[in-house]
């Protein structure tokens, strides 16, 4: 898994630099944000000509999924404040997946920290390596490097599309984004793809009212979220 992340990290560094960003941009991002998907999303918006605000929003929407992940492993994130802070920064999809396989509280903690520190090291070293390699590349168009970024994203997202609901929402969103691309400033079409979530949100809302007809609060939260999304 560390090897796979190293290759993604190197691609990230190389894609950023060959796309015209300074070498320190991917390096600083990887240290401070440390979330591959969000880093790719934010840089993708910027390289596509989008504004910084759209890039930040795209990255944050992706990272909102870390909220439920954090709750799933809340037991390992206890301790003094500096441990909680460092532990929280090391939270990744992969780390959570590993912890969830363990039941013993001690094992959960050590797996979490081991996995987090290893991934943090590998990720940042490989991003630097990618950024250095990216600077040596001349004509990125002739080498087809512009196809690497969407290829990486596709490989990352493909497994989650096995789920029918996710797939439908993603297809709707992609159609909206491409249709909007000629007319809207770059970056916005990608955010507009979240309209593809509306049918999913409606289904979830309906389930809610059927199961718990009297409670209104979670339904309202969903509704609010829905409005923010649209």
């Amino acid at each position: 898994m560390c090897a796979a992340d190293a290759i993604v990290g190197m691609s990230f560094g190389a894609i950023c630099v060959s796309g015209g960003l300074d070498w320190w941009v991917p390096v600083l991002m990887s240290l401070a944000v440390f979330a591959g998907g969000a880093q790719f999303a934010a840089v993708g918006v910027v390289l596509g000509g989008g504004g910084a605000v759209a890039a930040v929003v795209a990255g944050l929407v992706l990272n909102a999924r870390l909220l439920p992940f954090g709750f799933a492993i809340a037991d390992v994130l206890r301790g003094p404040w500096w441990q909680r802070l460092a532990g929280a920064h090391l939270l990744t999809d992969e780390g959570v997946a590993f912890v969830l396989q363990q039941e013993d509280p001690k094992a959960r903690r050590s797996v979490y920290w081991l996995c987090g520190i290893a991934l943090f090291t590998v990720w940042n070293v490989s991003v630097v390596a990618g950024a250095v390699a990216g600077q040596a590349i001349g004509d990125t168009g002739a080498l087809g490097l512009d196809a690497m970024f969407p290829a990486v994203l596709l490989a990352l997202v493909l497994p989650s599309l096995k789920d029918g609901t996710t797939r439908n929402a993603a297809v709707c969103g992609a159609v909206v984004a491409v249709a909007a691309a000629p007319f809207l400033p770059a970056g916005l079409p990608v955010l507009l793809s979240l309209l593809g979530l509306l049918p999913v949100a409606r289904t979830l809302l309906r389930k809610e009212t059927r199961e718990e007809p009297r409670r209104e609060t979670p339904a309202k939260t969903l509704e609010e979220n829905n409005e923010k999304v649209s």
Partner: protein
Amino acid sequence: MPVYAIALLAAGTLGFRLAGPMINLPERLSTLLTVAAAVLLVALTVTAAFTEGHDFAGWARPAGVLVAGGLALRRAPFPVIVIAAAVTTAAIRAVMPGA
């Protein structure tokens, strides 16, 4: 990518990470967040594959991405997928300049 944007993204991300253990989101909302992440990544894939600013990016790039998708479905190793995309696109451009 200005530094303030990186700082905002980093701060927001750390906020999510710190808040996570304290907030028990309703399961439906968690589902929605997971689906939202996938929707955004697919939209980014498709716009990055087909468009360059407001214009069509040419056929060479989406062709490379299509090859990558096919390889990913066949569970090819990650480096193979990514390099195949670049090689396909480069080859098409070499044969048909302007594609």
